[in-house]
């Protein structure tokens, strides 16, 4: 399985994502510039966290006009895996691959801490290595992570089981329905605010993100 990590101007968790695949899971992963027009030959693309274009308008708003975005769209259409974490999630909503939007946190402050999550859907290609309703701790680090969508969109997400991760105990940003991560209907595009790539080594504080990476690599083998 070949994985691409896209680097936008201002991406800064590109290293975190790359190293999770590379050093920890020994997977075949490459950095790809936002200027590239093609992702042919890759089985999965990850849009990392950070502050693409400084997040100067809305997080992710400017990045979605990059060349690479059409290639990301194409991968999604072909049923290949698309993962957006934090800024990557914001880009996926801005480009319309996932519904809704991410607003400024209710606290109006950036927040960096461990968040308690529940895995609401363990059947997506990103979550098969988790148990259904497993409770996990994954770090968050964002200022604009409050998920918003209109009522009917939220109903639709719930009905189709598209809410993949939900905050429990404490909603850190005011997101509606305590949403931490959602997928598209087909299940091959996942966007989430928490950083699973920061939870893959015990020395750095936890390994609850590992099953996500193992899930996608397993999905790659089957495909």
């Amino acid at each position: 399985m070949k994985i691409a990590v896209v680097v936008f101007p201002g991406s800064n968790c590109d290293v975190d994502m790359y190293e999770a695949f590379h050093s920890v899971l020994k997977a075949d992963v490459k950095y790809v510039s936002y200027k590239e027009k093609s992702l042919d030959g890759f089985d999965m693309v990850a849009l990392p966290g950070g502050f693409s274009y400084g997040d100067y308008l809305r997080a992710g708003a400017i990045a979605r006009f990059s060349n690479i975005i059409l290639a990301v769209q194409k991968m999604a259409d072909e049923g290949k895996l698309v993962l957006g974490v934090c800024n990557g999630f914001q880009i996926l909503t801005e480009m319309g691959l996932l519904p809704g939007a991410l607003k400024r946190n209710d606290s109006l402050q950036f927040v960096c801490k461990d968040a308690d999550l529940r895995v609401e859907n363990a059947k997506t290609p990103f979550t098969t290595e988790y148990q259904e309703y497993q409770e996990i701790k994954i770090p968050i680090a964002h200022g604009e992570g409050s998920y918003y969508a209109d009522e009917d969109v939220l109903d639709e997400l719930e009905k189709n089981n598209q809410v993949v991760f939900r905050y429990i105990k404490n909603n850190p940003n005011g997101s509606l329905h305590d949403i931490a991560g959602i997928c598209n209907k087909r299940g091959n595009v996942l966007g989430m605010m928490p950083h699973p790539e920061r939870a893959v080594e015990a020395i750095l504080g936890g390994v609850d993100g590992l099953p996500l990476f193992k899930s996608v690599l397993k999905a790659g083998v089957k495909a």
Partner: protein
């Protein structure tokens, strides 16, 4: 563009006095350095370059007290940042810098640009910044909504800049004391890692080589930082002008990646590189030329400008953020431009190196400055200062030592925990990304932050410590204690202390009592550094921290870095398991 005053008018009207250049200095410049009257641009450059901030004319005698050498020291004070060997061809690069005045006046931007400035000092050495630390000292919070606002904005400024750059915050300190009511302290420290072979210098040499400018355009930001900081605040309200420097972390991120790309992959194109900090283009270019024992010709019309009709003086002294100056070998101009274009940045040639030692500036086809480079950088008149033991110390020495009376230890503990200085700092540290780039082993909240050196078993530990009140009461012991506190924080994390950086935050050094405290406390720092074998490899001086004649406590900040050979030996601060024994070591 016409000069605002003729040389004769300057001699008559003495505008330089307002820019804190003395008559003695002016006369020395005329009679001994130039042998003529300087023009308006030239005297502006002198007053900036001869300011305490750029020349250390007051603090030099004190800085000489510090030990600066050691078996691991590759680069001591004098460059962008200190460089210390951590084996395997790798080095840790670090420095701290104060941004007290800008933060007091405009907390958010002051703090943000404070962080931005110290990052440039580190990446211009060829090191990748890997951690930010911030030492914050505010006035009293109780019944003081303005101070609370300033605190919140300062923290947001530190956080937004580092978060956007993707550099984790690994620690710092937050204290509160009425002595900082009118003068907040913001000291930011940055730690970087590099391969020693990639080390760069702020050097410009080789006749015919090019001077290139890259980064944000030049505006009228922060012109004459010193005068701005003391300008009457209320007058500023009415004007449409503002000299506040605004931080642009996105620009800085591009600049950092591009500069590291250039330094690490194409160092043969480059002679030297330096960030434009205080006193902007003039200080970076004059310092680089001095280092390279060269002359330099700059054409100011080629400097990218954000505002129309800027004078030569404004262009040279602007403190617009996120700018770098490069000395590039002849013939590689286009290659360098191409590297920066890859990051959507424009590199522009603004001048070239000469071998006559003269510093020549052209503006609108006129020579607006023609002086020896070293007159700006090396011929500064050092200033002698008077010292006098402060009255409050003499008085205190006559009295018996104060003994705390504790009747209800539980209540005393609660009262202590209620102090904002001692209470939990989670409110602060949660706003900082402390994990980005996934190397953080110990995040803020412990004695020292600990960071893994990726690809090795090594880790580095780092912390900052300040103890203004202690230093005020006994500068010598206070200085020693501050270094010792850092060292114990580093050791408690399982690391061997390597070296320190510092920010010397004091009041007006012309007050003999303050100068005495400065001298004594630095002697204390030096004593401790000698004994602990932790030399001073970089640092910064911030004097004149006063408001309405009230000085802050003498508040030297120590930033220390230590090395852990195997990160499995890192010791976390928290209690581990029920049933574990608790010991008290020492007396």
């Amino acid at each position: 563009m016409k000069q605002a005053m003729t040389p004769e008018e300057i001699k008559e009207e003495k505008p330089y006095l307002d820019w804190s250049l003395s008559e003695r200095e002016y006369d020395y410049i005329c009679d001994h350095l130039l042998h003529r009257l300087p023009n308006y641009t030239e005297i502006g450059l002198f007053s900036a370059m001869w300011s305490e901030h750029c020349s250390y004319k007051k603090s030099k005698p004190v800085l000489r007290l510090f030990p600066t050498k050691g078996p691991r020291v590759i680069q001591g004070p004098g460059e962008g940042a200190g460089v210390v060997d951590i084996d395997d061809g790798q080095a840790v690069v670090f420095k701290a810098e104060s941004h007290n005045h800008p933060t007091t006046v405009e907390p958010y931007q002051g703090a943000a640009t404070g962080v931005g400035g110290i990052l440039r000092d580190v990446f211009s050495m060829g090191a990748r910044p890997v951690a930010v630390l911030d030492s914050l000292h505010f006035g009293e919070l109780k019944n003081n909504p303005t101070m609370r606002y300033k605190m919140e904005e300062t923290i947001k400024g530190v956080g937004d800049y580092g978060n956007c750059m993707g550099i984790p915050n690994l620690g710092g300190e937050t204290t509160f004391d009425p002595c900082y009511n009118g003068n907040i302290l913001l000291n930011a420290m940055n730690v970087g890692l590099m391969n020693i072979k990639d080390m760069e210098h702020g050097n410009a040499s080789g006749s015919g080589n090019l001077v290139m400018y890259v980064g944000a355009k030049t505006g009228r930001d922060g012109i004459h930082g010193a005068t701005f900081a003391s300008a009457d605040f209320s007058k500023e309200h009415e004007t449409q002008r503002s000299a506040v420097q605004v931080g642009d972390p996105f620009m800085e991120k591009l600049l950092m990646e591009a500069c590291l790309d250039l330094i690490i992959k194409h160092r043969e194109w480059l002679v030297g590189i330096q960030d434009m900090g205080a006193a902007g283009i003039v200080s970076s270019s004059a310092e680089m030329a001095t280092e390279g024992k060269s002359g330099m010709v700059l054409n100011l019309n080629d400097v990218p400008q954000r505002e129309p009709n800027m004078s030569a003086y404004e262009i040279m002294l602007s403190e617009s953020q996120e700018r770098m100056l490069l000395c590039v070998k002849k013939g590689y101009e286009e290659d360098v431009k191409r590297i920066f274009e890859g990051y959507n940045l424009e590199a522009v040639t603004i001048g070239r190196i000469t071998d006559d030692g003269q510093y020549i500036l052209l503006h609108d086809d006129e020579i607006v400055c023609d002086i020896p480079v070293t007159a700006l950088t090396e011929d500064v008149l050092e200033e002698k200062s008077e010292k006098r033991k402060p009255k409050h110390i003499i008085e205190a020495e006559k009295e018996a030592a104060w003994e705390p009376k504790i009747e209800d230890a539980g209540q005393t503990l609660k009262d202590l925990l209620n102090q904002p200085t001692i209470a939990s700092d989670t409110f602060v540290t949660q706003q900082y990304d402390s994990q980005v780039r996934t190397n953080t082993i110990v995040a803020p909240g412990s004695d020292a932050g600990v960071l893994r050196v990726r690809g090795t078993k090594k880790a580095i530990a780092m912390c900052t410590d300040t103890n203004g009140r202690f230093v005020y009461l006994d500068p010598r012991v206070g200085g020693q204690r501050t270094v010792l506190e850092s060292a114990t924080n580093i050791v408690a994390s399982g690391a061997l202390p390597l070296a320190i950086t510092d920010c010397l935050n004091y009041g007006d050094p012309n007050d003999p009592e303050i100068y005495w405290s400065l001298h004594e406390s630095c002697q204390g720092i030096a004593d401790a550094c000698e004994i602990l074998e932790t030399p001073v490899v970089s640092g910064n001086v911030s004097l004149y921290n006063e408001n309405d004649g009230e000085a802050i406590y003498p508040s030297p900040m120590i930033g220390m870095v230590g090395l852990i050979k195997d990160y499995d030996h890192v010791i976390p601060m928290r209690m581990q398991e029920t049933g574990d024994q608790v010991y008290l070591l020492g007396k």
